[in-house]
């Protein structure tokens, strides 16, 4: 049996249940009933569903009827991209940054087989989309511009408002993947200028198997899952009511709590960065400027070692971190995000703090990381001295 990680530093992958979410989940588990039926039990279920929808809509500045419950962020992103394309008439072009999550990239690329054209735009070394490049890509037949609120691997916050203005100038819509930012940074449909927004339950201290898509009235969708009339005919299938009730408890609670935690988490990130500076040949990814990045996330590459090997050594010491891109961890392909940034892809580590992370967590990592790195480099029989001499310059 594997030991449970003592130091969990992978909040960007998934989060534990918020106590209020857990209470809501347990309570709703006993409230079985189909919200689409007409008897008392069903009406109580409908009430819980409606109340949950309202709370989540308020949390992101949406109208309740714009919010579609899904099984998670991946399904919401698929519904947004594919559903929009299915309803499209003349507009047959999409703009997708190369660093989007694969749940946005994959359905967009799949549309090329159906006569859609997809322009993938690049990013700078910090992982940020250049609005000028975006402007050059958007056309009068562009249906959709996609832009994540913040990148999932390196934490870089994207120029979403500029992207919205560019999209709207051409009559296109903006899809914002906010899975990493809902209940972490301020997320408001109007402020972002988003026409569609994707959110995930399990990344915001809610349960897995929950998420939602916000689709404003401008965004006409055809469903991807069909078979009934639920969710205003935009997503068929019985709603995951306990999960939804829990997500609807977690998100508003986190929206209220997060601002007070931001400086403390940024302090932990700064503490980690200071410690990393003492390890030779570590390259930090993303925007070095705190306002341009997620406060709780630090990504870096340790040169000359294999990321997975480092993960295993850290895991043996009870520390859970992530390497590269989780969606491609089973393949030999390097992280598409780091590759698009022109960043070193090997030896990549992503550290992301839970809301209650402490300095002791950071210190534990900084205690274990340097000897683990040294061991792996020794195994690679690397003469770091010679490399450093070569890198010192004239």
């Amino acid at each position: 049996m594997r030991a449970v990680a003592e130091t969990y530093l992978d909040a960007a992958s998934t989060t534990p249940l918020h106590p209020l979410a857990r209470a809501a989940l347990v309570e709703a588990l006993d409230e079985f009933g189909d919200p689409a039926r007409l008897y008392g039990r069903a009406r109580r279920a409908r009430l819980l569903l409606d109340r949950s929808r309202e709370r989540l809509a308020v949390a992101v500045g949406a109208a309740p009827d714009e919010l579609i419950f899904t099984s998670g962020g991946t399904e919401a992103a698929n519904l947004a991209v594919t559903g929009l394309a299915r309803a499209a008439r003349r507009r047959r072009h999409l703009v997708v940054p190369a660093v989007e999550h694969t749940s946005v990239l994959a359905p967009a690329r799949a549309l090329t087989a159906q006569g859609f054209e997809v322009t993938e735009v690049g990013v700078d070394h910090a992982g940020r989309v250049d609005p000028a490049e975006l402007a050059a890509a958007v056309r009068d037949d562009t249906l959709l511009v996609c832009l994540q609120h913040a990148n999932h691997e390196v934490g870089t916050v994207q120029p979403v408002r500029e992207a919205a203005d560019l999209a709207h100038e051409h009559g296109a819509l903006l899809l914002v993947d906010a899975c990493q930012t809902v209940a972490r940074l301020p997320v408001d449909m109007a402020e972002l200028g988003a026409d569609l927004l994707v959110a995930s339950g399990h990344k915001t201290y809610g349960p897995p198997g929950t998420g939602f898509l916000v689709a404003t009235r401008r965004a006409r969708l055809r469903p991807v899952l069909v078979g009934d009339e639920r969710e205003r005919r935009r997503r068929a299938g019985m709603e995951n009511l306990p999960g939804i009730a829990a997500m609807a408890a977690a998100v508003p609670a986190r929206v209220a709590e997060a601002p007070a935690e931001r400086d403390r988490l940024a302090g932990l990130a700064a503490r980690l960065l200071a410690g990393l500076a003492a390890i030779p040949e570590v390259i930090v990814h993303g925007d070095p400027d705190p306002p341009g990045r997620l406060p709780h996330l630090v990504a870096f590459s340790v040169l000359y070692i294999e990321g997975e090997a480092l993960l295993l050594l850290l895991d043996a010491k009870g520390i859970a971190v992530h390497s590269g891109s989780s969606c491609t961890a089973d393949t030999q392909e390097p992280s598409h995000v780091l590759a698009a940034m022109g960043a070193i892809t090997h030896g990549s580590v992503r550290v992301s703090f839970l809301r209650d992370a402490t300095e002791a967590d950071v210190d534990r990592l900084l205690e274990v990381l340097p000897p683990a790195v040294a061991d792996l480099r020794e195994m690679a029989e690397l003469d770091t001295q010679a490399i450093e001499r070569a890198a010192e310059g004239p």
Binding site: I283, L303, E306, Q332, L382, A386, P394
Partner: protein, 78 residues
């Protein structure tokens, strides 16, 4: 000018080995000397040019190999 040439064959080897061996080879040639690296790991395709940029070494050329993979020519600049 006759530059020292070192050839490093990393075909079939996964990252970070190509980068490690490139770094060692560059350190082993004279300044101005050339290292030719063969690799077919997709990570190497990304990481070799990035390493050259980060370490201020010159990536002179990068060719596809007909048999698969790539040839990287790197000049030690300092």
């Amino acid at each position: 000018m006759t530059a020292t040439v070192a050839t490093v064959d990393c075909l079939g080897l996964a990252c970070p080995i190509p980068v490690v061996r490139l770094a060692k080879a560059v350190a082993s040639v004279e300044v101005g000397g050339m290292v030719e690296l063969l690799a077919d790991d997709p990570g190497a395709k990304v990481d070799i040019p990035v390493w050259c940029r980060l370490k201020d070494q010159q990536l002179v050329a990068q060719h596809d190999r007909p048999e698969g993979g790539w040839i990287f020519q790197v000049r030690r600049t300092h």
